[in-house]
């Protein structure tokens, strides 16, 4: 299976550079963690890698070919789980999965089997025929994950997938990521939950204000920065303020006037 490679990827909105010269390579069987604080450009990068957003400069290649030269072909191999699970609220979970499966031209009988499998394994069976408008965020996220995996993609981009999920599903998701990697899928796992990234990913890319500030295996980063956890590495690279002092300041602001 081919690599997904982004070279010197940049994106600016109205003159503001959100992603700046980012290089990412994801190989089959590899889970790349993509870390960064809020607003660091993680989602923008993931959307450019998925071909949903055109880069201002730089290139995304899959198997050595620019994905823009064959977006439809690239997306046949792609599964994408966005941070915000926006879905059609007037469809039921089952209807949404049928819609996506039919658009992907999965044979009807196989599609039905797959959909029933996903819904049952995710515990969505009882709500499967209800409108998505009545779903919790976690239920929507499960539908999005099912839709992303319906066609057995070779590349999966997880953009903060654990948002809204319960503990059991989050644990299952970690195992799922490892299992998919074990089956040769190339995976980007964007998150700000350091513990999950530490357990799941083979290497991490740390992003700060749109720029890559670290790109290596977790073990090497720990050694290089003389820290014994990813949290320590992240603090060293990204966090400029003292979190404890910041927390005290916030509590003080809340108490003003009382």
């Amino acid at each position: 299976m081919p690599d997904l490679r982004a070279t010197r990827l940049s994106k600016h909105f109205s003159g503001v550079r959100v992603v700046n010269d980012v290089n990412v390579t994801i190989r089959p069987g590899e889970v790349v963690g993509y870390l960064g604080p809020n607003g660091s450009g993680k989602t923008t990068t993931a959307r450019m890698l998925a071909g949903l957003l055109e880069p201002s400069s730089g290139i995304v290649e899959y198997g050595g070919r620019d994905i823009r030269d064959g977006l439809v072909a690239f997306r046949r191999e792609l599964g994408y789980i966005p941070e915000e699970p926006y879905l059609y609220p007037f469809l039921s979970g089952t209807e949404y999965l049928y819609l996506i499966g039919r658009l992907r031209e999965i044979p009807e009988a196989l599609l039905t089997t797959k959909i029933e499998g996903f819904l049952n394994l995710f515990g969505l069976g009882p709500a499967a025929d209800q409108s998505i408008a009545s779903y919790s965020k976690g239920m929507r996220q499960k539908i999005v994950i099912s839709a992303a995996l319906l066609h057995d993609p070779s590349v999966v981009l997880f953009d903060e997938p654990e948002t809204g999920l319960d503990v059991t599903t989050t644990l299952m998701l970690r195992h799922l990521v490892r299992t998919l990697a074990g089956r040769g899928k190339a995976i980007l796992y964007s998150s700000h939950i350091l513990e999950v990234v530490e357990r799941v990913c083979d290497k991490v890319i740390v992003l700060h204000k749109g720029k890559v500030v670290a790109d290596d295996s977790i073990a090497r980063l720990r050694t290089l920065l003389s820290r014994n956890s990813l949290e320590g590495v992240f603090s060293e690279l990204v966090i400029r303020e003292d979190p404890e002092q910041l927390a005290r300041d916030l509590a003080d602001v809340s108490a003003l006037g009382t």
């Binding site: 909105f13 998925a50 071909g51 949903l52 957003l53 055109e54 977006l71 439809v72 997306r75 046949r76 792609l78 994408y80 966005p82 915000e84 926006y86 879905l87 059609y88 609220p89 007037f90 469809l91 039921s92 089952t94 209807e95 949404y96 049928y98 819609l99 996506i100 499966g101 039919r102 658009l103 992907r104 031209e105 999965i106 044979p107 009807e108 499967a128 025929d129 209800q130 409108s131 408008a133 009545s134 839709a147």
Partner: protein, 586 residues
Amino acid sequence: MEAARLRTPYVQLTKLFLRQFLENDLISPEADRSQLLAMVGAMVVSLTLFVCAFMSFTYVGALLTPGQTAVLSLDDKLFYLALAMIVTALVAATQWDALAIDPRDAAILEPLPVPSGTIRRAKLSAVAILGAAVAVAVNACPSVVFPWLLVFGFRQMSVVALAELMATHLVVAIAAAAFGYLTVVALRETMAAILGPRWFTRVSPWAQGALIVMLGSALLLLPPAADRIAQRGFDGWRALSPPMWFLGAYEMTAGGVIADLPRTPMTVRQANNDQITSRMYRERRGQFPALARRAGLALALTFFLAAAAYMWNARRLPSLAPAPPPAFRRRWRLGGRLANALLVLDPAARAGFYFTLAAMWRSNTHRLTLACAAAAGFAMAVVALSSANVAPLGGPSHRLLITQPLLYGALLVGFRHLIRVPAELRANWGFQLAWRGRDRAFAAGAREAAVVALVLPALVVLFPLFVFVLGPRLALMHAALGLVGALVLLEALMVTYDKVPFTCTYVPSENMKALAPIYALAFLIGASLFARLQLDALQRGSPFRALLTLAAVFVVLRVMAVKRARLPEVEFDEAPASFQRLGLHT
């Protein structure tokens, strides 16, 4: 002090609820609401001013006597009263869900330290302000211009009498508007109180759609309905029409201002006319008090019912999930199997078919658009039928046959518009990722959904009428020809469409204002030609020639669609051309 009052939770919430009336899928969240309001306000004022000036031309241009004016003006007064009633009712119907506290609002506002009574009062105030604003906007111009032009030629009219006429027009028209508005509120709230949240959630969208169809049709049928009413009289079934009740109130209050004007010297012919019309007015005058009483009673009852039902429903704020929403798939399983086996065999077409059906009926914006199209279709069909021969086995006529293409044509034109409106723009990423470039197959599925959900029901609704007038054999032939005609029309409407229905950004046509009248004219000419074709087929007793003509047109359209140069790739997030020119897009 004043600033503090403006910051109270009640005022803030009222403003919030008022802003929500302007929020819908067609208005961008970043849109300038002041500009939008100014535009809508200007449009209403200029439209009513134009209608007033146009309708009052008779009173200014001709030398009418007081008797003639009193009789003739009854039509126009009825028109204005019915217009005020229908427009405010239509506004209430389009804001159907926003008339009561939304479960989402309750979920957000309930945890705040604001008494629930304040939230209810604020919502009630916002609903009242909306109704009052619409009533005033619709009636302001006619209340000044119409009475003034009505008595323009009467030098004997005093300024005080003119002011009395204007005030009466304003008050009665606003009362009629209030009646229309309150009727919709009362209907909604009574339904909610009787059905409970579970059933109301299911019934509500259909009730709203039916109301819009009814009111829209009534609006379009208003001009022919408000004609020669003095000659037709005010008794029998006419006395059951609400605008008539308010006309009674109007005449009770200010009818004498014109009818009893002192007569100035006039010619013999004028004197004769005045005598005849004055007698006619005097004969009708006796019926006005009963009609006026009915108006007062109806307004009071509607107000009482709306208030009682509103208060009953507002005992507690609605919860976010009042009932498990309907299980869609179970209901349609058998129909789905049939469609999969017979209609939509290709996966992309299947996706288009089911997605179109869901978007058309379950998305609020799309359902409302369809309801408006259905209203226009019904109104045109009724106008055509009103002058057709509908006697049992009366045989085919052009005016009878045209009802069919007018009804399904309006629905299909509405459909063509609504496929351009995204069902949920933020959710189209799913389409973008799963898209395999099968836009033609997807659009074919959407077309089949339009035939199943719009054309067939329209043909079925009209079928009994045609069986009654034409007999079963000709009615069947007529329905079959109608179906083929609908397929041709759909093909024609979709020739230039190369996007993915319900998913791409809405890019308004930049020259629609100029082209709309031409399109409307082309539609009417097309419907008329098609009715002629059908008439010829039915009179011959053989549909062969008509089918051949339709098949030829269909083939030409299909070839045009296939040969047409298309974009290499669908652009889901296309910006309007002006944005692209200025480089404002991404």
